[in-house]
């Protein structure tokens, strides 16, 4: 076995030990927390049956059997973070390889495998689950529901994800076994005929795993829609439904049609690979059919990821601007508009695939149109900040970084949507720069912001503010170095998905391209440092951070912006302090119960 593979195997193994340790210790942290399901546990090692009244078993069994939306949210979050770490390690290996033009540390095949795994992992195993984490924990609190409409389906949907990830990553685990299974090298788009012709059964395993995670996402989406429609508290109407729940509702509506379609396409690909069907063969539907089906899913998928994150920013940003979200209604309308439009732009990924010019023109029009509701949101956020009492806490910094990155990510998208420009930039690093401004600069940023914002509710503790600010600045600087360099490299026509760039110097500006690649690698390392700080901060603060006793840690009350989730938090604090507090309404959950009613 080549040393490069050995090293990689060791790395992946190490990552798993780490992940496992992380999960195993989560349970210990939780028993030390003031709140478990809203009740104070006995602090002496977490025996749940003691004086306090518990709705859950203790130890690992609790996590395997839980149907509580908050616990399931934490499970989703843990899962998403593990996926984020693997996706990050994969891309770091690639970026280090790309520091020089030649193939140095890893083989081009390994590069392709990492590229595929990075994309699939980040989109399906990090992006969708991390949103489900926030939605699970907070949508029921924000709409005044007891729980999700179907708590058990909620749990099933989560538990389908780990086997999905194992199947998707299976090709890496089998490297040390020296079987004829390797990681898939199809890129996340899995274009046919390449994906049909690769004999490696690792591709089949990945397709099966993807299908499974799609089933999970669809179950979750149905559950969220049912919850928001039928479980709202008596005082939560459509008119005062919060913006985050609106975006989750829209996102779930998109998932409803996007993921099952991807599921069918994946099964068709599996059948083509294994049973000689002709779905994507030239004599059948042809490779173009795959592209249509994939992007009919794929473009909505990017909005599946970004809409809830826009919802988070729309929810958090006003809290630190001291003003209500400007033009709330228009933010909701633009969300719904994007939800509908997102199904009508898919062919802008196929301008280079030789489709009918009239189709190209109409898809160019719809793609330009979708920038309008996106811009509506941006202007609303900026106007919310205008004349506001802006407080630069870490969540706020991430929100502002989000907007800044969206301006770049969004505008580059508009350029790409223009057919003639697209001909120049398609399949170059420009595209990679565009979508990373959105996926890393927005989706990950909003995720970080929300983690910091809700950290007190979930853990009962506060994170370290200095580390958190360092995390923000490193991320912001790193993202802009890395991805701006990608945009520039795209202008130099550096093609994407290449493991090397030893081009003919008379045809390519090698010096500039090398410099840009080195900048990208440096930027990626800066992002890594920031992410490590974040991880350390979160883990350490979860165990040792200062306990939050103030029910309004963000001082939102004085601006009249106290959210329902913090009102719920206040009830929990009150209930655990004296147990005397009279709690009314459905915000009062199990925290209001007294001993001995079991």
């Amino acid at each position: 076995m080549p040393p490069e593979q050995l090293a990689l195997t060791a790395l992946v193994g190490g990552l798993f030990v780490l992940a496992f340790g992380f999960v195993a210790s989560v349970k210990n942290w939780r028993t030390r927390l003031p709140f478990v399901g809203g009740k104070r546990l006995a602090t002496d090692g977490g025996h749940a049956h003691g004086g306090s009244h518990a709705h859950k078993p203790s130890g690992i069994v609790r996590w395997l059997t839980t149907v509580d939306h908050k616990d399931i949210g934490i499970l989703y979050g843990t899962y998403g973070v593990i996926a984020f770490l693997w996706g990050g390690v994969a891309v770091l290996i690639m970026r280090i390889e790309l520091f020089t033009a030649a193939s140095t540390y890893i083989s081009p095949n390994m590069y392709n495998a990492l590229l595929t795994s990075h994309g699939i992992t980040m989109l399906f195993l990090f992006g969708t689950p991390i949103i489900a984490a926030f939605a699970n924990y907070f949508v029921p609190l924000l709409i005044g529901a007891d729980d999700m409409a179907f708590p058990r389906i909620n749990a099933i949907a989560f538990w389908l994800l780990p086997p999905g990830a194992l199947l998707i990553w299976a090709g890496f685990f089998t490297i040390p076994l020296d079987l004829a299974i390797g990681p898939a090298e199809t890129s996340w788009t899995m274009y046919t005929p390449l994906s049909v012709e690769q004999v490696n059964p690792g591709v089949d395993l990945m397709l099966l795993g993807l299908h499974l995670t799609g089933v999970s996402a669809t179950m979750g989406a149905i559950n969220f829609i049912a919850t928001i429609f039928t479980e709202r508290g008596d005082d939560v109407s459509w008119a005062n439904l919060d913006i985050f729940s609106w975006t989750i509702l829209t996102q779930s509506g998109i998932i409803l049609f996007a993921f099952p379609l991807l599921g069918s396409a994946l099964i068709m690909l599996l059948l083509d690979r294994n049973f000689g069907t002709t779905f994507f063969a030239v004599e059948g539907g042809g490779p173009i059919l795959w592209q249509h089906l994939f992007w009919f899913f794929g473009h909505p998928e990017v909005y599946i990821l970004v809409l809830p994150m826009m919802g988070l920013v729309s929810w958090i940003l006003p809290k630190f601007a001291g003003r209500k979200l400007f033009g709330f209604k228009f933010v909701v309308y633009s969300t719904l508009a994007i939800g509908v439009l997102s199904f009508g732009v898919w062919a802008h990924h196929m301008f280079g695939s030789g489709i009918d010019p009239r189709i190209r023109a109409s898809f160019m029009a719809t793609s330009l149109a979708i920038a309008i509701p996106s811009a509506v949101k941006t202007f609303n956020w900026i106007t919310t900040l205008w004349n506001g009492n802006v407080r630069l806490t870490t969540p706020m910094l991430f929100c502002i970084g989000f907007i800044s990155n969206f301006v770049l990510g969004g505008i580059t998208g508009v350029f790409l949507a223009s057919v003639p420009v697209n001909y120049l930039l398609h399949e170059t690093y420009y595209v990679v720069g565009h979508f990373h401004y959105v996926v890393m600069g927005m989706i990950a940023f909003a995720g970080f912001g929300a983690i910091y914002y809700w950290f007190p509710i979930v853990t009962g503790r506060m994170y370290n503010r200095t580390l958190a600010k360092a995390h923000f600045w490193l991320s912001m600087i790193g993202v802009n170095i890395t991805f701006f360099a990608m945009l520039l490299a795209g202008y130099f026509e550096m093609p994407r998905r290449y493991a090397t760039y030893e081009f003919n110097p008379s045809l390519a500006p090698l010096a500039e391209i090398t410099l840009l690649h080195q900048a990208m690698t440096v930027g990626a390392l800066i992002i890594t440092v920031g992410t490590v700080l974040w991880l350390v901060n979160i883990v350490w603060s979860w165990k040792k951070g200062g306990e939050v006793t103030d029910p309004d840690p963000w001082d939102t009350k004085e601006y009249g912006l106290h959210g329902r989730e913090f009102a719920w938090f206040e009830q929990q604090l009150a209930a655990t302090d004296g147990g005397e507090t009279e709690i009314d309404g459905e915000v009062a959950t199990d925290g209001g119960e007294t001993l001995g009613d079991e």
Binding site: G37, A54, H55, K56, P57, V61, L64, T65, V67, D146, A149, F150, P151, R152, N154, A155, I156, W159, L160, P162, P163, A170, L179, A180, I181, P201, L205, L208, L212, V215, A221, I222, A226, T230, E231, L256, F257, A258, P260, L261, G263, S264, A265, M268, L271, N274, G276, T278, F279, E283, G284, G285, G286, L289, H292, E586, A588, D590, G592, D597
Partner: protein, 288 residues
């Protein structure tokens, strides 16, 4: 402490616990059923993966391992599903709130049917691609127009009839005519089985007498892909019908409590409509 089930999530003003009866019993927010069901659900995919690894001229492992895992997963899945459905819907059937859970469940079925449109959509798009595209290398059953046989037409009538009996079964239940309800529900179930048998017979005819299989050109792929997908749905529908039929025999359902009859009926009508569309485009559409 009030018992709260998946279907009975009311808007009461105290926190309802979702899973009091579940195993492990008495906690309220803990249940093994989802984990077990998901173990089975994930196991299906692992089984399929092992099956693929066991295929070919040089299989990587014993070809029986995949199917074995699949069977074990089925056991786990059904156990989890049974426990879940039992504790969510059945154990508390007569005590649960009568009307408050009807809307969520019907909405859920509607949403699920929305996902089904997308699932079938993928297959139909493929068929439209080939039908509107080159449309060559057609099998004999298409060129000679034999794909639209009397068998298919009879089978279609059977399925439509089952939709009608389903509708009137529900009607009878609402009117309080229990005997007629059970009889018509049983008839629906029986007609569903007849349809499946007809489908199997058709496959048999096509494969062994006409030599037309799934690898026979673009049409073979479309034909078996779409009818197979639909057949799976009818099979699932038959399982659902069997469940509600058995429950009806045990005395469940009343004019006030009939949500699962409504949802199963929605599903059954949907499958029926898809079939009619399928016959029109895939059978008739192939030969016109």
């Amino acid at each position: 402490m009030s018992v709260e089930t998946d279907d009975g999530h009311g808007h009461g003003d105290s926190h309802h616990l979702p899973a009091v009866e579940d195993w492990p019993k008495g906690f309220g927010e803990a249940s093994w059923w989802p984990f077990i069901a998901a173990l089975g659900g994930g196991g299906f995919y692992v089984g399929a993966a092992l099956f693929i690894l066991g295929r070919g001229t040089e299989p990587m492992l014993n070809p029986m391992i995949g199917p074995l895992v699949f069977v074990l997963s089925t056991v786990a899945f059904l156990t989890g599903l049974y426990g879940w459905l039992y504790h969510a819907f059945i154990v508390d059937f007569w005590e649960g709130e009568a009307d408050s859970y009807g809307f969520p469940l019907k909405l859920t079925m509607l949403l699920f049917l929305g996902t089904e449109v997308a699932t079938f959509g993928g297959g139909f798009v493929y068929y439209f691609f080939v039908r509107a595209g080159a449309w060559e290398n057609l099998p004999a059953i298409v060129t000679e127009g034999e794909v639209l046989s009397t068998l298919v037409i009879a089978n279609t009538l059977v399925l439509i009839a089952s939709s009608v009996t389903m509708h009137y079964a529900h009607h009878a239940l609402l009117k309080g005519d229990r005997k007629r309800f059970v009889r018509l529900l049983g008839t629906t179930f029986g007609l569903g089985l007849v349809f499946l048998a007809g489908q199997v017979y058709e496959y048999y005819e096509f494969i062994f007498h006409y030599g037309f299989g799934i690898t026979d050109g673009a049409y073979g792929t479309a034909f078996y892909g779409l009818t197979g997908l639909h057949g799976l749905h009818v099979a699932l529908g038959a399982v659902l019908l069997a469940i509600v039929f058995v429950r009806a025999l045990y005395g469940h359902y009343s004019p006030e409590k009939h949500v699962s009859i409504s949802t199963v009926s929605m599903y059954w009508h949907f499958v029926d409509v898809v079939w009619v569309f399928l016959v029109v485009v895939l059978y008739a559409g192939a030969i016109v």
